[in-house]
């Protein structure tokens, strides 16, 4: 194998089952979608459960 995969060297660990189980009980929020147009005419969609778009594209 000539190349190495990215290692878990940044100290971040995969989420534990306990963490995911706790989150499961949270109620889903409303999906938001904001459409922007990039300089060459392509679209960009910003998704979230809260408004995060703070810049003009």
């Amino acid at each position: 194998m000539s190349r190495s995969s990215a290692r878990l060297a940044d100290g971040k660990r995969p989420p534990s089952p306990e963490r995911t189980a706790a989150a499961r009980h949270k109620r889903p929020r409303q999906l938001t979608k904001v459409e922007l147009e990039l300089g060459d005419g392509r679209y960009l969609l910003a998704y979230g459960y809260r408004a995060t778009v703070t810049a003009d594209a």
Partner: protein, 325 residues
Amino acid sequence: MPDLRFDLLRREWVAYATERNDRTFLPTDFCPLCPSGSGGDSEVPLDDFEVVVFENRFPAFGPDRDGGRPVRPPSTGCEVVVYTPEHKMTLAQLPVERVRLLVDVWADRYVELGSRPDVAYVYIFENKGEEVGVTLHHPHGQIYALPFVPPFADQELRSSHEHVVDTGRCLHCDTIKDESEGPRVVFSGDSMVAFVPKAARWPYEVHIYPRRHVRSIAQLDSGERWDFADALLRVTSAYDRHFGFSTPYVMAMHQSPTDGSEWLQSHLHVEFYPPHRRKDRLKYVAGVELGAGTFVNDTKPETTAAALRLQQEPAGKAPSASPKP
């Protein structure tokens, strides 16, 4: 301009997209998928975001361009889905809330792209790692809105249809029943199950299924979407724990075509194909796979499933990640 040609012998489409030959390749000093702020020169000129989707600058399918600019309304197309603004994260490292959002985004894109009259199939996938051809490391996936049903999905749909005709039951539902408590199960949850398939082509291939017969990701209810997000994290983090490094893979979502037919025999599932057969060896698609279409697997699905089951322990009990040999 992308071009499609039909191979009469194989009876399959081949896509030509010559502009992709010069697409951005593993940049070291700049990431096109990181937020670059208002007026920035990345693909995401925002200060921050949660999940963004944009039209691929180098699409493999079209025809959605005229003089370099997209044609409106689009017919088919290719999208990039950026999972997070954080460059060094992976899907396995994301909080479950973000993966849950990703599930909602995939569902929204399935519905929207699938509603385009020329789109017969919405193919959602992720290539992770240079070993499977990634050209940008920032965590992201892709969506191809195809004007045809691709061959693997088509074959699955034909097989499942024949099973319905023969038995009156869904082939996928029967498979879930067989695998959810068998020797190839990776985990078995309330609404999701993951297993190494009986005839796995790849040593650590895993399929995730919703137990309920849903034809597409858009049909998952809220609880199932949480469980689906959890299942994606369980599988990808099990790979990382097992191999001890951030494991490359191809993730492929199979679901109902969007060509107007009902496709009652379709059953949503996700397939993972990691290229590693052991920590220091890759499984290559070579002569017998490419030339004959028959996979040779160096491991037994029961063995690799047992290894991945061991990694379903909490993170604190798993072996710590170490440099790859």
